[in-house]
Amino acid sequence: MTLESKFMTERNSCPMTAAEIADAYFMEHRAKLIDLAAFLDRVDRASDADDEGLGVDFRITALHECLKILNDGKNDRTRRVLEHLSDHSSEPLQTAPMKGALGAPAPE
């Protein structure tokens, strides 16, 4: 639905050039990328990690799947990542299982 939205604007809606965007934001996102790499390395060193990936949390699995979205050559990445991390059921839950949220849909 997003791509067909009547509110979707044309290309070039950011006034900055690509070089200016890199000048402004590259270092910040380089740091975030390295943080992410270190986070995944930490998961690899987890006390219950094994070669088959058993013990990997469903949130980590979802994160790996999102990394593929970032590198698939298509645009609108933010929306697609958020949708991948969303519950796509449509019926209300019988009861609320907790107050908080986990960041990715829990397995059935």
């Binding site: 509110f7 809606s13 950011c14 929306r79 969303s86 796509h88 209300p92 839950l93 960041g103 849909p105």
Partner: protein
Amino acid sequence: MKYIDPHIHMVSRTTDDYERMAMAGCVAITEPAFWAGFDRSSPQGFYDYYKQLTDTEPKRAAQYGIRHHCWLCVNPKEAEDAGFAKEVMSIIPDFMDCPNVLGIGEIGLNKNSRNELMILEAHLELALSTNQLVLVHTPHLEDKLKGTRLIMDAIFNAGLQPDRVLIDHVEEHTVSEVLDRGFWAGMTLYPDSKCTPQRAVDILETYGTERLWMNSAGDWGPSDPLSVPKARIEMRRRGHSEDMVRKVTWDNPKTFLSRSPRFRADDD
């Protein structure tokens, strides 16, 4: 340049924050009723909270030249006990005539449960019967997409006009559906969850500035009461016009909120 922060929980903030916001140009805020971080044990606890929102906070804000407005409800995090929530809702009409009350909010869903939905529908009935504006909280993280759709369906089923409803905490995967269905949309600027100021400006570049506002939703968790002025800096940094900055942080919130005759942004 003046700005409005249309969603911030000042009961959780210090007086220093009022001062810093005023120095950054804030002249008006609206404060929705929300969860205190723990479940209140009695309706009297909510009564005291509503007194704080309608009496104490306006005085505290006025010391810094900020006009304080509020929204009343039982927030969705405390709606799972439907009997308790209905008992609390029965005291809301006692406060609806207070001069700083703009409407019902922030109502919505948290975990998208049946009881939460039932209490949401009861709030929508109250808003419809008393002709109040509505401010909507959408769920967190993985629950947001589903919850936003359930909420919009409930609003249409209740018969409220979408242009009298602001759906808050939109992100890239919900903003277009909210706008396409005729609602106003709010972007909440949080450091970790919801939108950063940078992403909020990305959304403006992608979806335009019609019926969109931004807010800090500053509260007791990780949040920044100066995130709206920081987003204005981000817009200018990218080369966007002062007209755009003004539209999103002044004109748009003023237009929506002025549908309540009680809203006053400044001396006009």
